[in-house]
Amino acid sequence: MLQHLIFFPVLLPLLAGIFLLLPPLQGYARRQRVAVFLVNALLLVSAVLLLQQSLQHEPQMYMMGDWQAPFGIALVNDKLAAIMLLLSAVLGFAVHLYACAGDDQRGPFFHPLFMFQLMGINGAFLTGDIFNLFVFFEILLIASYSLLIHGGGKQRTQAAVHYVLLNLVGSAFFLFGLGVIYATFGTLNMADMAYKAAQLNSEDIALAKAGGLLLLVVFGLKAALLPLHFWLPRTYANTSTPVAALFAIMTKVGIYSLWRVHTAVFGEHGGELANIAVGWLWPLALATLVAGIIALLASQTLKMLAANLVVVSAGSLLLTIALNTPQATAAGLYYLIHSTLMSAALFLIAGLVQEQRGQAQDRFVRSRPVNQPALLGGLFFIAALALVGMPPLSGFVGKILLLQAAGDGSDAAWIWPPILISGLAALIIFSRAGTTLFWRAQGVSQNQVVAHPLQITAIILLLLTSPAMVIWGGALTDLSLSAAYELHQQPLPVIPANMAVPEVLP
């Protein structure tokens, strides 16, 4: 039973999504909510069990239907994958709680789509095969297309058109990249690719490089790398609140894929293909960070602010990939967990502010006060502290780790200023946002909207992870460091050397 556990994070949401479309559940909001709540709880349990497994054993490869590696479809559970699964389970759990307060009824099929979205995300984290990475990307994308327009509206349709078309072009690029890689490597299994990378024929090197860089474009589009990030702020700011919060993990799927493909396969052990992405990532990641900071300072609404913070955190994370050391990857992993959960919390808070302020929504203008200024202000304050990177909370630890990972050579000179300035910029824009939204109020509120207890629970749950990440910071940094070493120490020991396909196909 436990050896099949690895498939649960994909299978559970798939089955749940299908059953939610069938009569006993379809059309009954309460039953659907309870069902998805239970599935999310099970996902949490299985993610914890998988993390435990990955701590006790070497990375495990699970062959679907027992077709042998490297031909069968492989799922891999190592520390990195298990951490990401736990992250998506926590996020999904909290965001779904928030959605149950009423946002799920603004359009049809919220719950099944939510399940399919989680299935795609979990699958992308677990897959050990680059073609299945594509398949799971498509699953999470098509669910996200529909979730994006959940609730409808002009703004949303327009943002969705850009998002969908861009991602369809991205998928075409992904397939081109896959084709080139299969033609040169003769395999699509990531562990097997890592073996082959150092042994490619010299005439195939250029082609393989092109394939690897095509994948960089695709993952860059997902992860919001500079020239490819323009879709992000508008998409995230215009979608419904719980969906935006769930999307906080979508850019991280891109980062994760970069780790899997460009850190592991095209990493140190790649021979002539070693570190092909690093030269491109350095300037682009720095530029992403700078562009994110500028956009952050120009934000006009709280949701836009949160979306621009996602870009800033993507820039910081891409920098850790460009640094390309286990320490940097570990710092990136810690920062990734922190920034995903805190951005999601900020999106949820922005949703509450938007509902309570009536006409002014979450725009930074003088208007009527919110109905629960103390509660929302307090939550906003904590989220802001964490996201700016102030001492008691996880943002501070995350930034310290990032700065430490830069070392003290010339890398540090490039990395310290933008990271520190991004903290300052966040501080400035958060003070402006906080004072405008909560203090510069006039008149009395015209609506009686108050936050639902479930919404508050969800936000508190997300915010509590921040002090938890500090209190158990030692354990967590150790864990992320060993996950990073596991990632960098490729080829993965999952295929014994004698089982790797001996030669590239004719």
Binding site: L165, A172, Y182
Partner: protein
């Protein structure tokens, strides 16, 4: 054979990219369709082109690589679904925004 094949895929890709870069949803959807045709052919060729070879071991001296054929099958299904979705979304955008410009502006 390889040259003609490569030229065909190249022309299709170029046409697809040109259409995708047009600012109107109908042209973009057509471009995406062309692009996905080109991708499918490209994937198919990634296992090398073989004439008179079944994708079965032991049937004949030469055999075609079966994996790209399986990949193409998956890619076709996904591409088809995605194009259908993009088309519906384009229609919805046409209704919501009043025109078929991807940015929603008429000029």
């Amino acid at each position: 054979m390889e040259t003609i094949y490569a030229i065909c895929v190249g022309i299709m890709t170029a046409g697809g990219v040109f259409l995708v870069l047009r600012g109107y949803t109908f042209a973009v959807v057509l471009g995406l369709t062309l692009l996905s045709y080109a991708v499918n052919l490209f994937l198919f060729a990634s296992g090398r082109l073989v004439v008179n070879g079944a994708a079965i071991l032991g049937e004949s001296e030469v055999y075609a690589d079966p994996l790209p054929q399986a990949l193409v099958l998956t890619a076709i299904v996904i591409g088809f679904a995605m194009t259908a979705f993009a088309l519906i979304l384009a229609l919805r955008a046409r209704a919501d925004l009043g025109n078929d410009q991807v940015d929603g502006d008429n000029d």
